[in-house]
Symmetry: C2
Subunit: 257 residues, 2 copies
Amino acid sequence: MCIFLFSGHNRKFWSLPSILEIEMAQPEKTISDIIAERRSTPRFGPEPVKEDDLRQILTAGIESPSGYNLQPWRFVVVRDPEQRRALRFASHNQPKIEQAPLVIVALGDTEGWREGDLDEMIRIGSEHGYAHPSKSGDTRQLIYDYLSRHENLPMWLDRQVMIALTTMMLMAEALGYDTALMEGFDEQQVREAVEAPPRMHVVCLLAVGHCEGEDKRYGGRFPAERLVFGERFGASLKLTAEIPRRGEKRSSLRLST
Amino acid sequence: MCIFLFSGHNRKFWSLPSILEIEMAQPEKTISDIIAERRSTPRFGPEPVKEDDLRQILTAGIESPSGYNLQPWRFVVVRDPEQRRALRFASHNQPKIEQAPLVIVALGDTEGWREGDLDEMIRIGSEHGYAHPSKSGDTRQLIYDYLSRHENLPMWLDRQVMIALTTMMLMAEALGYDTALMEGFDEQQVREAVEAPPRMHVVCLLAVGHCEGEDKRYGGRFPAERLVFGERFGASLKLTAEIPRRGEKRSSLRLST
């Protein structure tokens, strides 16, 4: 049995079981709603992350932008209880690492670009018509020189990996999960727990699951004037109305102006 | 004149002009759609960023999570054409920095925690009932010790600031803007252009506006098997279906399994 269903601008065929799945699935939360409601989860319950959702979360990271599209990130998805326990001990014994049904260990590969990633990125780019193959030699040299001479490659990696991991966190929140970015760990111990080679720089952990018990209270934020400037550091940003506080929506802001 | 309008679970009064505004506003793009459509914009046109949208973009950054809620980020919003030109020259003369109607310079404050941020964070937290004031001394000491002994504070800052800046990028995309994260710059020259003190670490720039001319082609991504592992580095992640490629939606994935 097939029924027409309008989805955005596209008209598609859906089989009945798919429609039931869609009706059961939550619509994606908007970023505004995530921002208004998100907490760093203090305690996770055991309910697992669905595989379809995990796929979407991973896709969000994989499709993130990176410098020269080098994608220097590597992600180890940890679900096994013993592995979660090992990660917990590598992370100052924080219980939520073991409680969360899923932890993503985000790594930056310090040597990947030298060892195949750069060539593979150029090859895949050519396949997508991104650049003419005749230019690939110049491109390769330019990027190779940039990274060879980089003053702080671990920091470069950190930036790239955090773009992908933040996007994954927001995607997980959009799908209705609770999350916690975790940066308190012993790098060497985490590397050992997931058996990553020494060249892998451990950037951050992301726990994904469902909050158990009461969520953390909102701790507040500095007033915008302390954090945001206009044109020059220290100069106030000139706007015709105030920057909204958490929980205020676009529309309520408009009403208040 | 007032009309009832149902908005989510809340019934609110709206005046007629507000309804018109709401009808004219684009709904927020979902993260899935952003991921499927986003490019790092190659060239910007002059159409400005609306102030209401800028407020939402800034709020997204301000409300992001940070270690101990220390919010070590500072953002300089650059819209003035002369300032954009100065930033362009500080960023290896990349034309899009000058073309984009708005560039956010994201900084990390290496000394903020020592110079008031830590106390202010604790004070605001107490105001929000986040922790009992009697514990604030211990909390303060714990965080002070953590940051004093941190092996690589600039890297810690980088991680925090990238969480906020990535969230801002996605918020801008959700509101229909085109963006480019830019990490090619001379740190000292950027600091001079925005008159930031030496203690401010320049992390990344975010250009926001509207793409002019043809967008960049999608350069492709490495296959998931190269980037994602299960339980241990190098071990394949066991899923019952493949990780979707760009542009494939949750529902189409379900249909294909």
